[in-house]
């Protein structure tokens, strides 16, 4: 074509722009939805601030809506405590397993353990709660008959939550350790370090930010958990006494929302107090996820080549770090005594001693680390003499050691004091400390080979424990659920109040919910994801939109349930209806779908797009013909996984769509439905004598969710095989 004007006219300008605006319109629907949810919760929660007063709400020690007292402290304490316990339980097990899988296990074993972990991350929380209630709670009652009247307790909640957080912790920290370049390991081994020394001194320190992020993500998941904790913690809104008494019952924020929401009058103080609770919960999760984000970002920088310059410690405590060690000890002693005396005004002797010791340990750690850092800086900047530096580093490592020992002492003492009186517990703790100190020199003299043997065998034990727990869970459900499965069970209606008959309406209801969710969430999510990654410019407003998506992504599912109930069931007046459940679930999975779509699309190499554009294809054509086919596997995997998650969720449907009994199948969008997760919850917590039905329901739910996971991995496998870049 010699006609010069043929490049002057952009033929494709038109349809490219039209498509862009169509996509934008659909994406903005999503944006409106997202901001609407956030604002709705904010506005409803704000009402309570006027009625109750934020100070009173946050400091009140009693939660008794019937008596008009709305003190959130017991609920916040409950949430924090149960999460803390879960991490204490899950962290050693999770970290140990991750180290084992990444550094010790032969390749074949790793290839089995890793996918197992991922499957367990997908099991619905109501199934974990069911296992906790049926197996763990009676077991704990048997173990501690003097301390646990019912078995439902903080301890049970923490263990169940810990088991749930395990897969996340294992899988994310294993990824972090895998990401440590092989060259680091080789360099270390080439100098004659054992595998264990390499792990301990090179791999774990290099992966520490990833490990921290994994832990935090685990915490985030635990904090927002509803069904499992609600089923096993006993739900009394009290502050444990003493504070560390893990045999007490307690109640989390999430459980409060789930328990009280159904009976609350719209617009009342109680109603907005629940929204305020939801808001606090969201803020907690937000803070945690933000911390994880910062840490992950920092770890990316570490593996890049950019230098990390030494920064001066600008703290006002600097004079304290640099003080002579005698002065530091004096300071610590003073702090201990004054905190003890001060807190005696509020609590009893043992509690104030504990409080003082905990704060003192924190202080010691802080000072040790601070002085080490500032001495390095001063040496570099001011030429601090070497000798002084040794002294400082020796001092601070001594302080670190004593802080650790004190910490161990307090911990042992606290636990022991739950079983016997204070003096005997102190003696026990003392013996433990002496044993540690006495065995330290022997441990130091042990050869590297022996240390490695001991370390690796302990890791093996840890992994064995984790695997046994997980297998026990699956085995219990499968072995007791299988006998229940029959045609009558699968295709029959519940009879005798749930103790007999079948679960047909629950199966159909769950399928209906999933289809509805799919129809709402998929188009919106996929198109918004594509728009955000391919079209949206990186402006302030897209950044805000991304932030908002992330906020919703971390929001606990019970909060969505709350939203669905208030906005749809009550305000729009749908009542308990299929449509309300579908919308709620769809909104819940929307952020996940947008995010995974975006990630899959971004992972398509730039070269492919450039090749297409360079041949004169329009942006829309490139997107449709090159980008989407290339990202297809990733997108579909994300869709299936999100649907699997929706299928297992209980909290979002329990006040929007699910009822305990339906005598017929209805296809109407405005009728309520039965659903498997809710049915399981109902049977397990309200219907004694329905054990067979419970196990059958749990098994069917489990199979359904696992089937989706299997499908997702087949898709991923197939597409990864075909597409290589």
């Amino acid at each position: 074509m010699s006609d010069g004007s043929s490049i002057g006219k952009m033929k494709k300008f038109h349809h490219d722009n039209v498509m862009k605006y169509v996509l934008m319109a659909i994406a903005s629907v999503t944006v409106v939805i997202i901001f609407f949810i956030i604002l709705f919760i904010l506005i409803n929660g704000a009402g309570a601030i006027g009625d109750i007063g934020i100070i009173k709400f946050l400091t009140g020690l009693e939660w008794r809506p019937s008596a008009g007292s709305y003190g959130a402290v017991p609920l916040i304490t409950g949430t924090v405590m149960v999460t803390l316990g879960a991490i204490l339980f899950a962290l050693p097990l999770g970290l140990g397993s991750a180290i084992f899988i990444s550094e010790v296990a032969p390749k074949r074993l790793r290839n089995i353990l890793k996918p197992i972990c991922e499957v367990f991350a997908g099991i619905p929380s109501v199934v974990y709660g069911f296992f906790g209630l049926i197996v763990l709670v009676p077991m704990l009652r048997g173990l501690f008959p003097d301390h646990l009247l019912f078995g439902t307790s903080w301890l049970a909640g923490s263990i169940v939550l810990g088991i749930m957080a395990l897969p996340t912790i294992v899988s994310v920290s294993e990824d972090a350790m895998r990401a440590v370049p092989r060259s680091y390991r080789e360099a270390s081994m080439a100098m004659g370090a054992t595998r264990w020394e390499t792990t301990r001194r090179v791999v774990v320190p290099a992966a520490i930010s990833g490990i921290a992020a994994a832990t935090i993500l685990g915490i985030g998941r635990a904090i927002g958990e509803t069904m499992a904790v609600m089923m096993v913690t006993g739900n009394s809104p009290i502050i444990p006494a003493p504070l560390w008494n893990f045999f007490e019952m307690l109640r989390t924020i999430t459980a409060t929302l789930a328990l009280e929401m159904p009976d609350v009058v719209s617009g009342s103080t109680h109603y907005s107090a629940l929204f305020l609770l939801a808001l606090i919960l969201m803020l907690m999760v937000l803070a945690i996820n933000y911390a994880a984000k910062v840490i992950i970002r920092r770890s990316r920088r570490k593996f890049g080549d950019s230098a990390q310059p030494l920064t001066p410690s600008r703290s006002y405590l600097a004079p304290l770090y640099n003080a002579p060690s005698a002065l530091q000890m004096l300071f610590i002693l003073c702090a201990f005594v004054s905190i003890t005396i001060l807190s005696l005004l509020f609590v009893d002797m043992s509690a104030s001693l504990i409080l003082a010791s905990v704060i003192t340990v924190g202080l010691m750690l802080f000072m040790a680390v601070g002085s080490l850092r500032s001495s390095k800086y001063r040496q570099y900047k001011e030429g601090l003499p070497e000798e002084t530096r040794y002294k400082i580093s020796k001092n601070s490592s001594r302080m670190l050691r004593s802080a650790t020992l004190t910490g161990v002492f307090i911990f042992v003492w606290m636990i022991a004091s739950l079983f016997t009186d204070a003096f005997i517990s102190a003696a026990v703790a003392f013996v433990v400390i002496v044993a540690i100190v006495a065995s330290a020199p022997a441990a130091r003299r042990m050869s590297a080979g022996w240390k490695e043997k001991i370390a690796h065998s302990s890791l093996t034990v840890v992994v064995a424990i984790v695997v046994i727990i997980l297998i026990a869970l699956v085995y219990d459900i499968v072995s007791k659920g299988l006998p229940a499965l029959s045609l009558d069970f699968l295709f029959g209606y519940p009879e005798d109040g749930g103790t007999g008959g079948g679960i047909f309406p629950a199966i159909v209801g769950t399928v209906q919910l999933m289809i509805g969710t799919m129809m709402i969430a998929f188009p919106l999510g996929i198109i918004s994801g594509i728009y955000l990654s391919e079209y949206a410019k990186n402006t302030r407003s897209t950044r805000i939109i991304r932030e908002a998506i992330d906020i919703l992504n971390g929001t606990p599912s019970v909060v969505f349930g709350l939203f669905g109930m208030a906005a749809l069931v009550i305000y729009l007046g749908t009542g308990y209806a299929l449509i309300a459940g579908c919308i709620t679930l769809a909104f819940m999975v929307l952020p996940v779908i947008i995010r995974t779509t975006e990630e899959a699309v971004i992972a398509v190499p730039k070269e492919l797009r450039e090749a297409s554009l360079a041949m004169g294809a329009s942006k829309w054509e490139t997107t449709m013909k090159v980008v989407i086919p290339a990202a297809f596997g990733g997108v579909v995997t994300g869709l299936i996984l999100s649907l699997g998650r929706a299928a297992g969720e209980t909290a979002p449907i329990m006040f929007t769509a699910a009822v305990v009994f339906r005598s017929s199948i209805s296809l109407s969008l405005l009728d309520p439905v039965m659903a498997l997760p809710y049915h399981l919850y109902f049977l397990a917590s309200e219907v004694p004598g329905s054990s067979v039905m419970q196990y059958g329901t749990a098994l069917v739910l489990l199979l359904m969710v696992l089937f989706m996971f299997a499908m997702a991995s087949v898709v991923r496998y197939k597409y990864n095989k075909n597409i290589k870049w």
Partner: protein
């Protein structure tokens, strides 16, 4: 003059899974000399080098057969203390791989692993190793900065210093300059020659000039076989094998 052998290799075979990567290799490593391994890429130079301190142990499915001795002791014998072996035979890798720690911690890593805890001793080691690696002048005032803040050439010399910190007898270098610019390369080459006085060096390179410049012995490898092993002057002036000649004169393939 009589050169004593530090390592003897004879009839040495290696498999990665089913695939054989070394065939009947024979060579030796002389004390306080530089031995170079040359050959086209993929011919097994790195593989052979990594056998010398058993770094191939960490590769899944790697199997060896044949004789490889260090001071007369078979290093593949059962019960060999691999950690002790690697302490005596250190290794420098193709891409500089300092740990993401401070310069000081990189150097003290090895000594600490091997049981040195006294601060003053550690500091002496830091200074001595960095001086030996001709890096001291450049980094003595930033020992506590991240090693990743150094330039590529400095990082590689830091890795050499890190290896020197545990006083090895032999230093294995796998294309230590291939990731560096010409100036940094020249510095590493000078360093290798300098090290020859106190250490025994085996260096893999695909740069023939480098081999000719710095080495005393050269082995030419081709598809897993040691085609020729001899004094460097001989290899480069009067090779006895036709393949070797074609390779060093650049008429290959």
């Amino acid at each position: 003059m009589t050169d004593t052998n530090v390592m003897d290799i004879e009839g040495f075979n290696l498999w990665y899974g089913d695939k054989q990567a070394l065939f009947d290799v024979a060579m030796n490593v002389r004390k306080n000399k530089i031995t170079a391994l040359i050959g086209p890429s993929g011919c097994g130079k790195s593989t052979l080098l990594r056998c010398m301190n058993r770094m191939n142990d960490i590769v899944d499915g790697c199997r060896v057969q044949g004789k490889m001795t260090y001071h007369g002791q078979d290093i593949y014998e059962r019960g060999t203390d691999v950690m002790a072996l690697r302490k005596r035979i250190g290794m420098i890798f193709q891409k500089p791989n300092p740990f993401p720690m401070s310069v000081r911690d990189n150097i003290t890593y090895g000594p600490k692993i091997h049981g040195i805890t006294k601060q003053s001793e550690l500091d002496e080691i830091v200074e001595r190793s960095l001086k030996q690696a001709v890096l001291w002048d450049e980094v003595h005032d930033r020992l506590d900065q991240s090693a990743l803040s150094l330039s590529g050439g400095q990082q590689q010399r830091l890795c050499i210093a890190r290896t020197l910190s545990i006083n090895p007898e032999v230093i294995l270098m796998d294309e230590p300059t291939s990731a560096l610019d010409p100036i940094a390369t020249a510095k590493i080459e000078d360093l290798a020659v300098e090290l020859e006085k106190d250490y025994t060096v085996v260096i893999v390179t695909h740069n023939m000039q480098q081999a000719a410049r710095i080495s005393d012995y050269t082995g030419f490898m081709y598809i897993g076989r040691m085609i020729e092993f001899d004094r460097t002057e001989r290899i480069f002036s009067k090779p006895s094998d036709e393949l070797t000649e074609r390779y060093i004169t650049g008429r290959f393939g």
